[in-house]
Amino acid sequence: MSRKQMPKRILVKGNEALAYGAVDAGLQCYFAYPITPQNEVPEMLSALLPEHGGAFVQAESEVGAVNMLLGAGACGVLAMTSSSSCGISLMQEGISYMAGSHIPGVIVNMSRGGPGLGDIGPSQGDYFQAVKGGGHGDHRNLVLAPSTAQECYDFMFMAFALAFAYRNPVMILGDAIVGQIKEPIRRTAPEGASTPEHLRSLVQDLRIEGYGARGENAPPRLLKSVYLAEGALAQRNRLLQQKYAAMRKDARYAGEELDDAELVVVAFGSIGRITSSAIRGLRKEGRKIGLFRPITLYPFPGEALRIHARGRRILVIEQNIGQMVEDVRLAVGGCDVAWHGIMPGLFIGANELVEPILQALKG
């Protein structure tokens, strides 16, 4: 391909890539309350989205923002909010209601260190909150973990596709590194990306619009999560569980050098990327190490990991005090799983991962 034919590349932060990706995927409504380290998302969308005919509202709080998302999602439009850790905690009530009411929507969490106000450095401490539901009741969000600015852009398309396919909240879980790192991206829709028209059509039988849109005497519609009649809530939950079971086929991961690996390192997001650098260096020294990087944290790509883990040593590296390692252990059963944690808020280099990786390789 000649230089002229190459898709145009732009130099952007991960947060800016999210904003471009959202708009290019067909975003119609965006609601958010500012919080570091994701402020580029609302700042960019405040200008970009109205230019594309969409609605931007700076909410009074994350509680307000997620409920605006609920309202717009209930209308069947492509809607999104973004925040960071503490703000996502405030959104959990609304996310639970969305899950219980089959309402699609995208929630970006460019997480920060915690607990509490924590710091604005990198952290993967929101893994549990993101993949275990986070709010009250038995519900799940699909969770995508980008590791580069390009993935921030591309995953917006995937997020909307999954949100509308399953009529469920989808979370993009990044952190300060993914959000703030500046690198070139191709601003073109990923291959096979659905059009917004197609996505909207997926929920046309389950959106509020005014009954007149369906005919003069059409029965009114209701989106709700309260089921008080005997057995009704049980039935609702069975339906949700069926949906979550169906999501398993959408589990995704990126593998590097897994074929002959004696050690499989499992890491996601920014840490997955740094781990990849460390592994490439060690490969040059002839060490047989591979990387398994989950792209969907929920559904967790456990079946694929089980296959890759067979007969190998496993090391989980994550920037928290031990969260994803539980899902890895559940996935691989009897295998011995080593774990290396990085405290939230620290910026680490690939060189700092060499020692723990070599140790795990030795076993």
Binding site: G64, N67, G71, C75, G210, R221
Partner: protein, 270 residues
């Protein structure tokens, strides 16, 4: 028993009071004498008269009014407790052509959802909020509300609301009227025929300003809760007149539409 024949006008008769098709035929879950039923009827009549039910979206709240949507023939969405005005904001921005209203009690709108309510109002969201003030938490069994009168006994103020410990009742209409985004703010009462008829006009205005694109329409309806006031419905009605109205004065506190209409009518302002 009532027969179908009784419901047909006889020669020389005219049906002068009937329900409208926006209100469906379900018998409500509300207690005997509860004013939610009157408020529902007024809202349904206004939607019917405006001819907008087919494009109306109701955002329901949490409390006794959670099941409001069971009684209206309009599309509806349930909001988490207190968040109806935020949900309505999302609905409004997603569907600019729709008529959007919330129906909220005093706990929902004036306690847990104060932030969402005031900011939606302040943004001038083109929505209508119907606010039911009965000075008590009904659904949970009669606890103190933000609107509970000083001295009023509830299950969490068993010696009466004590101002030095719990503060006094919030007057939401007065607060709403101060906000630039609010186009209409009125407080009415459902305790008498005269007041109910006035309330109907206020509900109508609260929708008119939305339809005219003037801003947030707000109407507070003083209502009785005989069950949690431990009174007969008749006594509850009297309490509204004797105890509530002196604390919550009735009236139109703001009407941007009327001000504009009057300004145009005045000579020289055309």
């Amino acid at each position: 028993m009532t027969s179908a024949n009784d419901l047909r006008p006889r020669p020389g008769e005219k049906l002068v009071f009937d329900v409208n098709p926006v209100l469906n035929e379900r018998v409500t879950h509300y207690c005997p004498g509860c004013h939610h039923g009157i408020a529902h009827r007024l809202v349904s009549e206004v939607l019917h008269e405006l001819g907008v039910a087919h494009k109306t979206i109701l955002v329901a709240s949490v409390g006794c009014a959670t099941f409001t949507y069971d009684y209206f023939n309009v599309d509806s969405v349930e909001a988490p407790h207190g968040r109806a005005c935020a949900v309505a904001t999302g609905v409004r921005r997603a569907r600019p052509e729709a008529v959007v209203f919330t129906y909220q009690g005093d706990g929902d709108m004036a306690a847990i959802g104060t932030g969402e309510s005031l900011h939606a109002a302040n943004r001038g969201e083109k929505i209508t909020a119907v606010f039911i003030n009965n000075t008590v938490y009904g659904m949970t069994g009669g606890q103190m509300a933000p609107t509970t009168l000083v001295g009023q006994k509830t299950t969490t103020t068993i010696h009466g609301r004590n101002f030095s410990n719990e503060g006094g009742p919030i007057r939401l209409t007065e607060i709403m009227a101060q906000l630039q985004g609010v186009a209409y703010a009125a407080r009415c009462s459902l305790d008498s025929v005269k007041h109910v008829k006035e309330a109907k006009k206020a509900v109508r205005r609260a929708f008119d300003v939305q339809l005219a694109g003037l801003g947030f329409g707000f109407v507070e309806l003083l209502s009785g809760c005989p069950t949690n006031w431990h009174m007969t419905p008749t006594a509850a009605n009297k309490r509204i007149a004797t105890d509530m109205i002196p604390v919550f004065p009735l009236g139109v506190f703001k009407d941007v539409g009327a001000a504009e209409a009057n300004a145009v009518k005045e000579p020289g302002n055309a």
